[in-house]
Symmetry: C2
Subunit: 248 residues, 2 copies
């Protein structure tokens, strides 16, 4: 880090509907590109942001975290307001904070929380289609909550890992998980030290089989222990997934 | 009506975010155009639909009603499913019904219900921006509810009529109106025999002045009785407005 350089941490909420995920891409609009390009004006130089989590196309964020280095002079507390002026309304800077030079949005994170929203009993709803998985039948929430106990702690999550993902360790630790129904909506929460690519969506796709009566908690446990992706359920669609919080 | 011709009534929900209102336009995409063009395939001939209410750009519908005549042979009860296959996901046919030949979606309606949603205390929220009026401060719901009593019954609503609207009678009858807060959201409901162009949005823009402590119920009453549009508040933005129900 140069002299006069600050390391800035931003906490972001965004509606992922109109973006090809968080990470900058060559031929499709990503959240990172919009942030870097639009905020460069405020800081007076090109920006290079690190994001805590890659969210996929259509996935949302309630508390994504990024950091970047800047020699720009705008006071940190004014950054959210500058964001409201410069960013499209589907990306909001909730908080800006100056952090120590060694803070890294991704590598400094010790845990993350994702939520996944399902709207059961909904055949077609034009208002929720981009914000929850609309499932035509009801689901047994107590059965899904019971099955979630199986994933608590450290496990090999190969059964819930995207086929063709990078060859990294499939061991992850789940610190907390629940499933609850709030008036019409079912919300899953997954709190873990890290997540494999598509892991939350594959877990939800399999838990829906439990909630539909097609799979028991024991069956769910066998799938986890079998470490075979082909035995697990479908990948739940992206629009129900929200990166809720990154903890440091 | 020809022999073998049916008059079909559809009840529709749509997210108005991506449309230039309901009514077909020359150079912009409207809900009516999408319905007529996409459903023509099912009925085997061009369709001409009558809508109960013109919703403006960005205004939503929970229960818009249209009717049209057809010689097509698809059973009425299959129309919603055909709609799910052919229509974009932001337009949903909730119900299809065969009605008598003299039914007209607009002229047969004896009353309509609109709701308007406000999210108070919200500076910027990427998920509600298209579905409610986000207002940064809190509003006094009881004061707004009190002011709503003023509009019940038959009145000259010139004060709340869009400037430059068509030269029709400004007398309308409000059968019911309320304002309530449900967890975070404030919802207004207006039930009336008819509404002038922009009338609901102009009422809400003025009621927000009551809720903000800038206007009393007496002041609100004076504005109604003064019949001068310039004395009333701003036109509330379109994204908070929903055509909820049309009654026949």
């Amino acid at each position: 880090m140069e002299k006069n350089e600050r390391n800035i941490k931003l906490t972001l909420a965004y509606d992922g509907t109109n973006y090809h995920g968080f990470q900058r891409q060559a031929n499709a609009l990503a959240v990172q590109q919009v942030l870097e390009d639009r905020l460069a004006k405020v800081f007076g130089h090109p920006l290079k942001m690190m994001g805590a989590g890659r969210t996929d196309t259509g996935v949302h964020a309630l508390g994504q975290v990024v950091n970047f280095y800047t020699t720009g002079t705008i006071p940190t507390e004014r950054i959210p307001l500058a964001g409201r002026r410069l960013l499209p309304k589907d990306i909001v800077i909730e908080q800006a904070q100056e952090v120590s030079s060694d803070f890294h949005a991704r590598y400094s994170a010790h845990s993350k929380i994702y939520v996944y929203r399902i709207l059961p009993g909904v055949v077609a709803n034009p208002f929720t289609r981009n914000y929850a998985w609309n499932i035509p039948h009801e689901l047994d929430v107590a059965a899904m909550q019971d099955a979630l106990h199986v994933i608590l702690g450290k496990h090999d999550f190969s059964a819930f890992r995207a086929a063709g993902g990078p060859p990294i360790s499939p061991i992850r630790e789940i610190l907390g998980a629940y499933c609850q129904k709030d008036s019409q909506e079912i919300e899953f929460l997954f709190w873990g030290t890290g997540f494999l690519y598509h892991m939350v969506r594959n877990l939800v796709g399999t838990l829906v089989n439990v909630g539909s009566g097609k799979l028991s908690t024991d069956g769910f446990k066998e799938i986890l222990e079998g470490r075979d992706r082909r035995k697990a359920g479908v990948t739940a669609p992206p629009q129900g997934l929200y990166l809720k919080e990154v903890n440091y």
